[in-house]
């Protein structure tokens, strides 16, 4: 029955979205349609999660010949790497349709297409297929920001689009290079990632191709210093899109690194791991610092998101099981916390018609439920134990320490950096004396509260019972790391500080 679940999850939203475009639907009808479709996807996603056996191999595989002459196949599959990203993509989505209720059909149609394309990018195991979905998911974002965005939407949407497309086009060259090398070595064409991971690459070209991949993903993640599109885009985008961008799309960047770069370019990755992880932590600190100076709440959260993404990306570059698993877990955890925060800010903007931090104050007294939910999401985002945010961050820092003590230390400062701006913002917005506008701030309505409640529970649940999730992703992470050859490990060891080195030798 679930043989074609993945295809359905991909194409149901896309087709529904296209149908909304093509036929005259009213805004309300579009919303209902979108909601129903996303609920179907949600159920499929949950069913998929429950049925996932966690052996480390690909499950729910669908593979069909597509372009035979180049060995491009329509092949989908889920393993531990993609599972949680997929969950984030399928579970969080219905919220968008229940929170933002008064938009036009284009809005909902675009969202549906984004969802389908994102799920496609997550499930694709063929590089070309992945690339196609990867590009498709950007287009609706372009329109969402451009049509429904804030006052400075044009430069913002142009920037995100051009920036990301530049990166991904370079990746296209990288993809082709990999396949051509495979063809040279094995005499046949394929773009399947499982087969491509057998490839032995070396030389300057491999480094070049590696960087092409990395630039594409670094832009999407975004990794310092390729993050400059992010604040504008996140700020100007309508909240639903910011939610999608931060909660899922950015994660697909990290996912891409794990899925495509780690198996193929292991040696190059190991060689440049120290540089990349430095980019990760520097980005984390840089964006964290920038966040504190923001006056616009959404912009602050945008920087915060970029800051967190730095740490998540770091989890990949450390190349050990703990960091990788932490990274995968954190992908989902951060999706829940930051995504919800952006939705909350969207709500606040709808109620107050402003995002300026100075205009708020004392919301906690007017809207205790809202404040509590917000606080829980915020605490998860700063990585408080007991929330989903802690496990991943802890594992990543743990892995980073093994990788390099210095990087680990810098990564650890995320404990401090995040708290500073979050508390500062929380103080201004929720505490202090109520401002004029906040006097009449409405608490969450029951439908809204019911929308957010599952996610809030998920945040706490993932913090307290992470093992059911980890159990499913950890075998794949083990396998993934095991594939990293001995040579790579020695390259890695060159980077590690002595203190980490002797622990490394011991293991």
């Amino acid at each position: 029955m679930f043989e074609y679940a993945l295809s359905v999850m991909i194409f149901l939203p896309i087709l529904a979205g296209l149908a909304l475009f093509l036929f005259p639907f009213s805004g309300g009808a579009s919303r209902i349609t979108g909601f129903i479709v996303s609920i179907v996807v949600l159920f499929l996603g949950i069913e998929l999660f429950l049925g996932f056996s966690g052996t480390g191999a690909m499950e729910y595989v669908e593979s069909r010949a597509w372009i035979e002459s180049l060995g491009i196949r329509y092949s989908l599959g889920v393993d531990g790497i993609s599972l949680l990203v997929l969950m984030a993509g399928s579970i969080l989505f219905p919220m968008v349709f229940t929170v933002f209720t008064t938009r036009t059909k284009g809005y909902y149609a675009n969202l549906l297409i984004i969802q389908g394309a994102m799920i496609g990018a997550i499930c694709a195991t063929d590089m070309v297929l992945f690339y196609i979905f990867w590009e498709i998911m950007l287009l609706p974002v372009f329109f969402m920001i451009g049509i429904y965005g804030g006052p400075n939407r044009l430069p913002a949407t142009l920037k995100i689009t051009l920036y990301t497309i530049s990166g991904s086009l370079l990746m296209l060259a990288g993809i082709v290079y990999v396949a051509v090398s495979y063809h040279d070595q094995f005499g046949k064409w394929t773009f399947d990632i499982v087969e491509l991971s057998n490839l032995q690459l070396g030389g300057g070209m491999a480094v070049l191709a590696f960087f092409m991949f990395m630039i594409a993903f670094a832009i999407k993640i975004p990794l310092f210093p390729f993050h400059t599109w992010l604040p504008d885009a996140y700020t100007e985008a309508p909240s639903s899109t910011t939610f999608v961008l931060s909660a899922i799309m950015a994660k697909i960047g990290v996912y891409g690194v794990i899925r495509f770069v780690v198996p193929v370019f292991e040696i190059e990755l190991a060689r440049f791991a120290i540089l990349l992880s430095l980019a990760g932590v520097v980005g984390m600190m840089y964006c964290g610092l920038a966040a504190i100076a923001q006056k616009d709440m959404k912009r602050m959260l945008a920087f915060s998101s970029a800051s967190h993404m730095g740490i998540i990306a770091l989890g990949v570059f450390c190349m050990n099981v703990q960091a990788l698993t932490g990274c995968l877990f954190q992908i989902a955890a951060h999706a829940t916390s930051t995504g919800v925060l952006f939705l909350f800010i969207g709500l606040m903007e709808e109620r107050m018609q402003t995002r300026n931090i100075a205009d708020f104050g004392g919301i906690a007294y007017r809207a205790p439920i809202f404040a509590t939910f917000f606080a829980i999401a915020m605490l998860a985002s700063v990585g408080l134990p007991g929330t989903s945010g802690f496990i991943g961050e802890f594992l990543i820092i743990l892995g980073a320490i093994k990788f390099s003590g210095f990087i680990g230390f810098l990564a650890g400062t995320s404990l401090i950096v995040g708290v500073c701006y979050m508390l500062w913002m929380f103080q201004r917005v929720f505490f202090e004396k109520p401002g004029e506008g906040t006097e009449k701030f409405k608490d969450l309505t029951i439908p809204e509260a019911l929308t957010f409640l599952p996610v809030i529970l998920l945040i706490i649940g993932m913090g307290i019972f992470p093992q059911p999730f980890l159990k499913k992703i950890e075998p794949t992470a083990q396998l993934h790391i095991a594939e990293v050859s001995v040579m790579t490990k020695t390259v890695l060891a060159d980077n590690a500080l002595p203190i980490a080195l002797d622990t490394l030798q011991k293991n």
């Binding site: 504190i292 932490g326 802890f394």
Partner: protein
């Protein structure tokens, strides 16, 4: 060796359930019809009290076991397991944690009861108790956690609760800032904790990341890593237990309601650091260098806080600095490897500090939230119960024999001396004198002499029984707790030390009777000098002096807050501004802007070539041709 008991998890769980239930009730009802306070009050006290009873059960069960087998564990579920890392959500009750458990739940329960009276009439009554329960639950997780990661949950939990409670009166910006400060400073310490844990894990944690496994494998830790772990963990302890340089948050934490201060200072939170060092005694015992660092930091903190304490005028601030100072003692104790002495001081301190804070709370309550001691005076007759209980507390704090504080403090000083840390001992004695001075300065100013503000004096009255009864209970504890661990010189039983022995990796240096006597005598003398000076200056009533010179310097806490502000906070903010105003648009983004600019300019430049004259187009062609043929004619020989 280990015994699994399934009720262990309930000890922290009960207050946590209370917190959630109360929190939800409050959240959903506060906007419309708040529930009656008594409802919340009862609900809030049930959890801690039940926990206390369970703690007693644990204690007696442990007592029934042979000394080497005193370990009760309960692994509730696997929290997370990744690769070699395996972390159980598990609890461990051994003598050390059971002792902590006992007084934390006991004093915690008393504070809960007291708060029912103190907080009466507050609009956020329910919220307060929710936080309070959460606080206690977190502390119990911290104490009971079977490994460092579980401990870290409680560790961060109490940090969060301190934030919530300090900024409880959140309409005042200053309070929220104090809360932020507490959380952030704690987080700085947590960084050390996390890094320490990480190093510890990579060193020996793959064999099991709980205390018992770590203790079993401690021998195989590489020396460098071990030292690093000790120091990093101590940074964590500094943050939580308010040691130099991270002590700054604690005095500001007075912004919260007074019972919260009592809870933070006595039973929870600040003692966590000491507890943690004692917990890791198996590690610290291998690294005397790390121990010395701990001890010196501790004793210097004690000195510094005592100096600050001498010049404060806010009753809670005085008590706060006294806590910092006493914590310094405790660290000095655990630093010189006298872990049981340190823990014993934690134990006694819990009683008298809770007592003093709750007493101060009564005073403040009676005077309608007046905290300035220079506006009090002569309250002895108005508040007799408070007065007498506080006197007991003050004696205990100052280390007057035979009050509890005397024994525990003396044990620490004596251990310092015995282990050869003469400098620490000398400073310790000095601080003991200073402690007596500022404690009794406070007592004299508040209770003796003449009332300085007549109006508030007239309205003052003894608080209700729900507040005074806990005071009395605590006073009893403060009076007699010391006898649980009588030192050898008094034919002592050293009950607590023996009880703790299986948990701690303690060295017991053999010392002569004379050294012991010297230690006791000096500290008694120091106490006497301190109290005498205080009596001379303040016993008969005194007027508020104008602070000058060193006093002013001390009153302003050596301007440490200002220095931190100038050195860390402002540059941090400024750097943030620089990034967002300058770096981000002009530097980081420059590669994008530059390329866009270049592209557009090049496009504009290229337009010029499209001149529109057909002849010119032909000329382009010919020029291109000519260049190519120039190139091609090279290939013809």
């Amino acid at each position: 060796m280990e015994h699994t008991v399934s009720y262990l998890g309930f000890i922290p769980l009960l207050p946590l359930i209370g917190a959630v239930v109360i929190g939800l009730l409050h959240m959903f009802t506060c906007r419309k019809t708040p529930l009656p306070e008594i409802f919340y009050g009862v609900l809030a006290c049930v959890g801690p009290v039940l926990s206390f009873l369970l703690a007693l059960v644990v204690f007696f069960q442990l007592k029934g076991l042979p000394a080497e087998e005193r370990f009760l564990t309960h692994n509730v579920f696997t929290w997370f397991a990744v690769g070699d890392l395996h972390v159980d959500m598990g609890f461990l009750a051994d003598p050390l944690s059971s002792l902590m458990l006992l007084f934390v739940t006991f004093i915690g329960s008393l504070i809960h009861i007291y708060s029912v009276g103190y907080m009466a009439g507050d609009e956020n009554f329910g919220k307060f108790f929710s936080y309070l329960n959460l606080f206690l639950g977190s502390m119990l997780i911290l104490v009971l956690g079977s490994g460092p990661v579980v401990m870290f949950v409680g560790w961060e939990g109490v940090g969060l609760c301190s934030y919530l409670l300090i900024s409880f009166y959140s309409k005042e910006t200053d309070n929220v800032i104090a809360g932020n400060k507490a959380f952030i400073v704690n987080r700085i310490g947590d960084l050390g904790f996390v890094l320490g844990m990480a190093f510890l894990f990579w060193a020996i944690g793959d064999l099991g990341f709980d205390y018992l496994s770590l203790k079993a494998n401690v021998a195989s830790i590489p020396p460098g890593v071990g030292l690093a772990v000790c120091l990093l963990l101590f940074i964590g302890a500094c943050g939580k237990s308010a040691q130099i340089p991270l002590y700054v948050w604690l005095p500001d934490a007075m912004a919260g309601p007074t019972p919260v201060s009592a809870l933070i200072h006595a039973a929870t939170m600040v003692t966590a650091g000491v507890y943690m060092v004692a917990r890791f005694s198996f590690l610290y015992a291998h690294y005397p260098v790390a121990g010395s660092v701990v001890a010196w930091v501790g004793i210097l903190t004690a000195l510094l806080a005592a100096i600050f304490g001498m010049f404060q005028k806010d009753i809670k601030k005085i008590l706060a600095y006294s806590t910092v100072s006493q914590l310094g003692y405790m660290f000095a104790g655990v630093g010189v490897a006298a872990y049981s002495a340190g823990i014993f001081h934690v134990f006694t301190h819990a009683f008298f500090k809770a007592l003093l804070f709750l007493g101060a709370g009564s005073v403040i309550y009676a005077l309608h939230h007046e905290q300035d001691i220079w506006k009090m005076g002569g309250l002895k007759d108005k508040l007799p119960k408070t007065y007498w209980t506080m006197i007991i507390g003050a004696f205990a704090l100052s280390g007057c024999p035979p009050f509890s504080g005397f024994f525990s403090k003396d044990e620490i000083l004596f251990s310092a001396l015995a282990s050869g840390h003469t400098g620490i001992w000398l400073i310790g004695v000095l601080v003991a004198g200073m402690t007596a001075y500022y404690t009794f300065r406070m007592i004299f100013l508040v209770f003796h002499g003449k009332p300085r503000v007549q109006e508030s004096f007239d309205h003052a009255h003894e608080p209700p029984a729900v507040m005074t009864v806990p005071l009395i209970i605590l006073a009893v504890g403060a009076l007699f707790a010391g006898f649980l661990n009588l030192p050898g010189i008094f034919g002592g039983n050293l009950n607590v030390s023996h009880w703790l022995a299986p948990s701690l990796s303690e060295l017991h240096p053999h010392v002569s009777f004379w050294v012991e006597l010297l230690a006791i005598t000096t500290s008694v003398v120091a106490f006497a000098i301190g109290i005498t000076i205080a009596f001379k200056k303040f016993g008969q009533g005194a007027t508020e002096p104008e602070f000058t010179g060193f006093a002013k310097f001390g009153y302003h806490k050596f301007y440490v807050d200002e220095i931190y502000n100038a050195v860390f906070v402002q540059p941090y903010k400024a750097f943030g501004s620089v990034i967002s105003r300058f770096l981000e648009p002009n530097v980081t983004d420059s590669h994008v802007k530059l390329s866009v600019w270049l592209y557009q300019k090049a496009g504009a430049a290229f337009k010029v070539f499209q001149i529109g004259y057909v002849r010119v187009y032909a000329i382009y062609m010919v020029i291109g041709l000519s260049l190519m043929s120039l190139f091609l004619s090279q290939t013809i020989n």
